[in-house]
Symmetry: D2
Subunit: 432 residues, 4 copies
């Protein structure tokens, strides 16, 4: 489904009150601080965030699922939905697939379809946290109940390794160039497992997968402290993640999911550390208050998101670079919102935090910090945070033919209604 570009333009017209005036003032004020607003707009346009295929349907908690309607049931429909998001927001130009939920039986056609929407394929996600529902079709049919790559049983580890190699193969056909490995591996009870042996098994398994990866691919490992294992996980924090990445190979990098941290963690400092070690893969964006809540980006801790982007902009505008491009992806679960609305709000929050971080005068910040001007340093970054940068983001969107306010346009154009009309109220079953 493609939205009519004229309709988007019509929507924009009704909302654009004051836009030019606001854009002019914010640009003039930034100019006084030595910030070029045109460059900021260009940077906003460049930041493209991948949409994960599983985020297009209603998510679930262990306490049930409340599906909406018009959800995509096939890979083709998922691609179509991302196309809509791209048209409206101008912020997403790739899709991240999950195997076995999104096996592309006809990779060439799928790739062409995506290209017709201007979309490419982002990192491929393997799944060894559930048993493959295809059961007998899988090579060994062994269970991941007690872990996959960490398992004491060699046959289970081999099945997990082979699954990841299969995922790489799917990815190669689609033009992806990275594999994301999140493992549920760990333990539920003290006494159940040996921390070190589990770690060594995972390390060894990752090395074997790494060897099968094309030379221009990257592997992303993702840490998480708990859930679905509730006593320990193998890749539990950035320290373990960094050890695993370094132990695997040069192109093994650490992915940071914003919800995968213990209470009160200073996530922006974690980002700084991983960048310092040149091992940052990129992000799984979402927000949370208690655990891995997988809520809309920026809905609870927008200032933290800004501080994370502050670290990222320091890196992106700095001299020292990693070999990889940073990977940006949403990873949220939408239980009570229309998934497309949730994603549009998430793109919005990301653009906002990024733009706020871009307008921090870096040289001045460095000087204040060097002089131990504690109040001054805080003031400078809060001034950027408190600036209403939405005129810059809206301008970036409209220059791409997108919507002034994507969520408002999505509603005005009755996109969900159209999807329900086309697909019915059936429930897609792949994903959490």
């Amino acid at each position: 489904m493609n939205l009519d570009r004229n309709q988007i333009t019509d929507c924009n017209k009704q909302l654009m009150n004051f836009h030019q005036q606001e854009l002019d003032i914010v640009s003039a004020k930034l100019d006084q601080q030595g910030i070029n607003s045109e460059e900021v707009i260009a940077d906003i346009i460049k930041l493209q965030v991948a949409t994960p295929s599983w985020a297009l349907g209603t998510g679930a908690t262990r306490f049930g699922r409340f599906p909406g309607g018009g959800e995509p049931a096939t890979l083709e429909e998922k691609i179509s939905d991302v196309g809509i998001l791209k048209q409206l927001s101008g912020q997403t130009s790739s899709i991240s697939l999950h195997i076995p939920w999104d096996i592309p039986d006809n990779a060439e056609e799928v790739k062409e379809l995506a290209a017709s929407y201007g979309l490419t394929f982002d990192s491929m996600n393997s799944n060894t946290f559930m048993n493959d529902p295809r059961g007998a079709n899988t090579p060994n049919g062994l269970s991941y109940k007690y872990g996959s790559m960490c398992n004491t049983q060699e046959a289970v580890r081999e099945q997990a390794i082979q699954h990841n190699i299969d995922v790489i193969e799917y990815g190669k056909r689609l033009g992806s160039d990275s594999l994301t490995v999140w493992l549920a591996d760990g333990s539920n009870y003290p006494g159940q497992a040996n921390f070190r042996k589990q770690f060594e098994n995972v390390q060894d398994s990752l090395q074997q997968i790494y060897k099968q990866m094309p030379e221009d691919w990257f592997m992303f490992t993702e840490h998480k402290p708990f859930e679905p294992n509730f006593y320990s996980t193998v890749n539990n924090d950035w320290g373990s993640n960094l050890l695993l990445a370094k132990g695997t190979g040069e192109r093994c990098l650490c992915l940071v999911d914003l919800g995968h941290h213990l209470p009160n963690t200073n996530i922006e400092q974690v980002v700084s550390r991983v960048i310092m070690e040149k091992r940052l893969a990129g992000f799984h964006f979402n927000d949370s208050k208690y655990s891995d809540d997988d809520l809309t980006v920026g809905s609870l801790k927008p200032y933290q998101l800004f501080l994370i982007f502050n670290e990222l902009v320091e890196y992106m505008k700095g001299d020292e670079k990693q070999d990889n491009e940073l990977a940006w992806m949403i990873d949220a679960s939408h239980n009570t919102k229309d998934p497309m609305e949730d994603l549009l709000q998430s793109f919005d929050a990301i653009a906002l935090a990024y733009a706020q971080a871009l307008i921090i005068p870096r040289t001045q910040l460095n000087e204040l910090q060097f002089n131990n001007d504690v109040a001054g340093g805080q003031e400078l970054i809060q001034n950027a945070y408190r600036t209403d940068v939405r005129p810059l983001i809206r301008e970036a969107r409209m220059r791409q033919g997108g919507a002034f306010d994507p969520l408002a346009a999505y509603r005005a154009l009755e996109v969900r209604k159209q999807l329900i009309d086309a697909r019915g109220t059936r429930v897609a079953v792949t994903g959490l």
Copy 2:
């Protein structure tokens, strides 16, 4: 299924080395502190913990489910499983049902069946956190996606109220005398809901259900800070729970689930407060490290469990009493253990903590506390905690014809194998 009592006795014989000697010493030492070990044994026998019907099958997380075999698919099989647990441990003599998972179509027969195992029916659990899978069969077929009793839509609230009244009806036929209300109601995002209006709607709904409750019934409300709602819940902590209970009626009491607290909460003090207000319903026992992990009781924080029982024993041995008997129930989820093994370990941990709390010399503790003897007070309760009270627990079990070591007997008698032989490896679907 009934275990052969002789087989249990045979198992016991092989394990009873040193038992009498240990029992004699611990009894003699307790005697020196003025504690009568026979009374402790009698108290242990009296503490009967209800088994929830949903804990007899493998649980799930939102990341999947790894079922074992021989799980009970019908209410009759569930009752049979609790019968086995009772025989082995002597610690559980009732079952707690969950509607709509355990609708007793023929209540009289079910009641008789339970009685044949020496079992009665504990508190009835309603469910308004999922939509009834029976769909069209439900009176209104409205969705709880945005909450049940807190919902802004009156029709949804009425459906939730009616469901609870239905559950009471089922319970009356089975001889239960209480209704447990745990609500998932809350919100996922700031801005989504009005805290106060949600609270008032829940308060009003509870009052309406309360009016329909028989006069000898109790209502138990259960608080939880998050999950499946991740920004706010209506009955979020003991403070809210107490307000709701008082606002509902004299026989509305606060149920404490050990996993439903924010990080670092002093749960034993919560228990003290609720007892002080004469509103303690009882417990949902489990253990956790991060959130509502629903792990085996005592597997992670056994000292906390002991401190909670310290509060309970103070109440139970004190003069001031509530009108209700305290309700004891397990509420755990077993994803990687045989559910029956998990339950037997949980009973063990509860008996241990209770016995340790029973042997604290209360008068001496009061004196040390009155004299601000900080080290002395700690020393006294830790002395009780460090005492190996297992001889007392084993004695209590054997006097009831149970197993010296229930888990060992369960394995020696190959109970799970027998259940698989009888029921197959089919997967039960009711429960989380």
Copy 3:
């Protein structure tokens, strides 16, 4: 010390670029949403936050203290400092004293001095968490080592009660009308104390103090989960606080300190609950990431602060009212910032959050919430939060003769240098 009003005006002139333009646009946009910006400005001016006397000097942690210079050593100098803050920000018109740190030996003169700066006396703070340094001068000279009002020893409790009565007397002479009671009472170890007896002792002590309070006074009780006691505190959370307040009397209310909560607490919901019970005293504003960090308001979680003000505005603009005016106070500790700068930044953050909450279209929010428009409700309040309301705040300040940017003016006018010149680099010793 009084700042020269012309100098402030001169400072303003240099910073006021775009001010009028920005004010016009924000006003026009608010107007479209039915919000009158003049009323918002008037509300901002009305929100006066008390400055605590102890926040005017460098704070300490248990790991030491790094004092700056020019700190106030006398009550008179503290009043003078608050006068400066008032002139610059227009946001503080009262001072909150702490006994025995600020005993006003000549209450009449002190009161007149304050009045000369346009200042009054806010809530009086008692201190039973330290032993009075005056030692022998205190009536009994008993120690609070094992608690004050919770103490098992009646003589200690009586001393604590008498101290609070003395504080009321000081307050009466100064024109204050409330007593703030924060207690460190609790325990460090399981076994040390009986939760319930401690609670009952505190309850009884508060009742005795309450009886001695003038009939137009309010008592504010303040909860805190830990520190300096690290196992339990008596007034540990809002639930306990509410019980104590209700048990004490109608004019006993619950004070909320933003740093006195367990990790992940939904503080805005706590506020809603206490308002619902008509027991909100007001706030001790600060910010924190880990525990009671006592950092500058809004420096870490500005969105949470906004959500709290969202609850407050709902109450303030609603129909149902408590008998008391809400009490607003900073309670921060400044270890590495100039205390005056820290306070100016805190006033700024408070005004910002308040203004953002004021511009939420309430009727529309209620409608979205009633219709379960989850994304819509979030969008509406985030739109308010993302609006740059600083033009309104600056306008409010300037209309009072204050500074466009108080921190910038404080620096431009070299206030700290003047204070050091006048007072030297000596170190004040009262306070934490």
Copy 4:
């Protein structure tokens, strides 16, 4: 002061009821599991824990200090107190000093004095978290207000480096062979500091100190997530600590303080990771519920302590070894207990956890874990934890001429009274 050995023996006689019987049974039962109780006793005797000099006086929180009497005011008195602890418990044979609180002006005499009590000098602790109270006497007199080794100002960093080199010099004279570096360095506010530059400055400073260390010395770096800095710390977690240690040199190792972790951290897994990387320095033992509460070891989370010792015993009884001996030290703060009583209780808890970990049948545990016997693995280690190992610990103490129950003997012999008689009720001022 030396206690009369006969008096200790007399105390023991009154308490030894049942001791031999209990020892025989526990030994026989362990024997059945293949555990030699004599070896356990020998291991208990070998585990010697250092006493920190600052733990001998009453600690403080930022809310004040409640000193007891008879506290040691000089280094000589501190050594004497450790001598008493050694006599009673047999568990501490070294003392850990803190510079500038314990500068040994006459190192030879101090060393001899210690030797006369059978004591040596454990790791030396530097202090750059406070400004040296000697002020002008320090080489530069610069302030650590904005950090020490992380400071942007080179002169401050050099002062901190020189201080550490001075501490090494003191240590060399006393026969110590390690330097412990705990830094308060970090920041209080976002914007205040650059995470990476702070880290690099600390790394560089540590390298410079390392170069000045004798070749047989070790450097211990200690991480902590917050306090006294409340937004970020430089050495914030084990991941940062490991990077710093590896970046400094082979003999730079990671010290683990049990209170220096975010809420819910799996500390035993942290220990496993650091051992896996062969960088474990040892421990600062204490206990806590909320933050760095510095409570008596084992007073709140004894099971966690056991699980940590489980990891340690696996290492100690395993084949792969680090070059260093593990360093064991208490690091607690005693605000409401007699410090000597607190330390005796801490030694007790450490011996208990160690003995419980020693009696886990390791081969069986490995087998259960290999077979994914989740309930079995838990059962095995809980069986060890639930065993009353106190007879073994008492035997270990008595074989060294110590007390059956050190705390009881300390009280029976009225040690504190003797200390007060000798030293008065004066207050020592060094330490927190």
